[in-house]
């Protein structure tokens, strides 16, 4: 069947993981030196979107709450950053945590009503919020600059680094993205992640096991929004400009497409999802302006029919053919059990029969 087997929890497995991460790190650092400025700015966008997509995946993929409005948090983060830079003289980097905090608070606030809304109704409310966002920005033009938008000074690299502007923006985004990915992959494997997954798969059972639904749901919302907000503030750096047109419903839909394509309830999937939503429009716009939408739509539907695990699911099954991971549950670390639970959740979801729809 598979080419070789790896003992679970063995040094071999750890070595393989480290090797994989090293390759990824080398590629990530090499990118800005291998491509021209235009391409590098696209990879910067990939990193930025990946943060927002990861946040959305924590909410949708892990905790099972559907949000179609994450473009709104992304927008809130971007405008928080832009307004701070425009009105005050705070250093660029401080706007990133500021945007994260503002969105965390907004996410908690939206998480509260979300406690009473499940499934499709939550989707409806968040969709309405996403639609209302550009309208509200235009209305509060005193603060937001209306449809004119706000231009800001992009962060400049310190001369000592010897980096070009585009390379600096890339590394700035990378430096923000890496700890956020590390943090997310940490929590989803530990008790928080397991609580979220349990809640997604069966609320009653989760509550019986002692998961406080209200706490976890609102915090998942807050955290997810904070990720989107941080991404938004980085987007402001990368763009040097914010305007309502950048935050239409399309953004929210693209994020959703990205989590599905990358793989629901995966951390690394966010990166693939972000690559998809950055490069599909770039390449398809040569053919027709509408083609990227056609591809998004068709891919979403195709994913649900054929490969529900998204790209990560495909990679996992491909890897399963190369190496088989052996071992028993006993004596395993929390990390691995957590990972297993996440995967089991995917499988259950794929095989899900008729579940209650009118939730």
């Amino acid at each position: 069947m598979s080419l070789f087997t790896v003992e679970r929890g063995s040094t071999r497995q750890t070595q393989l993981r480290l090797a994989g991460l090293t390759v990824l790190a080398v590629v990530a650092v090499a990118i800005p030196f291998l491509f021209g400025p235009y391409r590098v700015s696209q990879f910067t966008l990939v990193l930025i979107y990946a943060i927002a997509v990861l946040g959305l995946n924590l909410l949708v993929g892990y905790s099972g709450q559907i949000s179609l409005g994450h473009g709104a948090f992304f927008c809130l983060g971007a405008y928080t950053g832009a307004i701070l830079l425009d009105r005050t003289s705070i250093p660029h980097l401080l706007t990133v945590p500021a945007a994260g905090l503002v969105c965390f608070a907004a996410g908690l606030a939206l998480g509260l009503p979300a406690l009473r809304l499940r499934g499709l109704y939550l989707a409806l409310v968040t969709l309405a919020i996403a639609i209302a966002t550009p309208v509200l920005i235009k209305r509060f033009d005193g603060l937001t600059g209306g449809s004119q938008g706000i231009s800001i000074q992009q962060p400049k690299p310190p001369a000592s680094l010897g980096l070009a502007d585009d390379q600096f923006l890339y590394f700035l985004s990378l430096v923000v993205a890496v700890p956020l990915f590390w943090f997310a992959s940490g929590i989803v494997r530990r008790n928080v992640g397991r609580a979220l997954i349990a809640m997604r798969d069966d609320e009653t059972a989760a509550r019986t096991m002692g998961v406080n639904l209200a706490t976890f749901k609102t915090r998942a919302f807050g955290l997810s929004a904070a990720y989107a907000g941080v991404a938004g503030s980085l987007f402001t750096f990368a763009n040097g400009f914010v305007a309502p047109e950048s935050f239409t419903l399309t953004v929210s839909f693209a994020f959703l497409a990205a989590i599905v394509v990358g793989g629901l309830a995966t951390v690394a999937g966010a990166l693939f999802g972000a690559l998809f939503i950055v490069f599909v429009p770039v390449w398809s716009s040569d053919v027709d302006e509408a083609l990227s939408g056609v591809i998004y739509g068709a891919t979403l539907i195709a994913c649900m029919y054929v490969f529900r695990g998204g790209i990560m699911g495909l990679l996992r099954s491909a890897w399963g053919r190369i190496a088989e991971v052996q071992g028993t549950t006993t004596g395993r670390s929390d990390d691995e059990v957590g990972e297993e639970v996440a995967v089991a959740g995917d499988v259950r979801r794929t095989g899900a029969g008729a579940r209650g729809m009118r939730s």
Partner: protein, 293 residues
């Protein structure tokens, strides 16, 4: 006072359009438990078909009939090809598929007809009459009349025909319906066809006022969601009455609340969706959800 009555009547007219699209949502929700996020985009596509037929030289009446028939067929086809494979899956899966359909139809129309907005010919006569100082446009009256006729026809279909009985049975209990020889798949497809037809009707009625472009039904969909939520997602009566309430609330809020004006009317359905879901999640006429824990 005249102004108030005027606004209420305008609200009922536009609310009838929301009601028609909400009725389409309710029709699908009742039979399959799916909230079809793509309903508005399907209606947009149908409206474009009608527009293209008019451009091709067909008389307006004939073009509308052809577009409505095509919508019925298209709705059945979508149910069969796209929805059937995921029927009965968990909400997230179905939501993603209907959103995929939303994006696909939206961009598909953009690809075929471009992203410019276009004028759409009025199917209803222009002009107006004045009753007791209140101006009643024939168009508004016509829209309300069309909605009432449609509701009447649907009532006849569901209550007085064998097909309607089969559709209600298939919605209530698919397994038992199969046992008595009802083709559940066919009734579901017809349900989607009818919903697409209703949506198309809403589209061609509202297009002359909004201008036709690929995103013109997006706003209407939000209002219709609000109407269906307010009325109760499984209540046709609720959809129509909900549509009227939303329409009236929109015109009144737009006129009397200075902060909202003409730009922020989208906040009205948003607030109503929020409020209803928090206070009375089943809406005014919906039946409460029964969950076996």
């Amino acid at each position: 006072m005249e102004r108030f009555i005027q606004l209420v009547i305008d609200g009922i007219a536009i609310g009838s359009i929301y009601g028609a699209l909400a009725l389409a949502l309710v029709l699908i929700f009742r039979s399959t438990g799916i909230v079809n996020f793509a309903q508005g985009e399907m209606a947009m596509f149908s409206t474009f078909v009608a527009w293209a037929l008019v451009q091709a030289g067909l008389p307006l009446g004939l073009a509308l009939l052809a577009a409505l028939a095509a919508s019925f067929g298209g709705g059945m086809l979508i149910e069969r090809v796209i929805i059937r494979p995921v029927e009965g899956e968990d909400p997230l899966t179905i939501l993603i598929v209907t959103l995929g359909l939303f994006i696909l139809v939206n961009s598909g129309a953009g690809w075929i007809w471009g992203f410019n907005n276009r004028g759409f010919p009025r199917a209803l006569p222009g002009g107006s009459t004045t009753v007791a100082g209140v101006r009643l446009s024939y168009e508004s009256l016509g829209i309300v009349a069309v909605l009432l006729v449609v509701v009447g026809l649907l009532w006849l279909l569901f209550e007085k025909t064998k097909l309607g009985l089969a559709m209600r049975a298939a919605a209530a209990n698919p397994a038992s319906s199969r046992l008595v020889g009802i083709s559940v798949g066919r009734t579901l497809a017809i349900g989607w066809g009818l919903a697409a037809l209703l949506g198309a009707l809403a589209g061609v009625l509202v297009a002359p006022q909004l201008f036709l472009d690929v995103n013109f039904m997006g706003g209407v969909l939000v209002y219709s969601f609000a109407a269906a939520t307010l009325g109760g997602f499984d209540s046709p009566k609720g959809a129509v009455i909900g549509g009227w309430i939303i329409g009236v609330a929109e015109t009144l809020a737009g006129d009397y609340i200075g902060f909202i004006g003409s730009d922020l009317t989208i906040l009205v359905p948003l607030a109503i969706i929020f409020g209803v879901l928090l206070v009375r999640p089943n809406g005014l006429f919906g039946s409460p959800e029964v969950v076996r824990a």
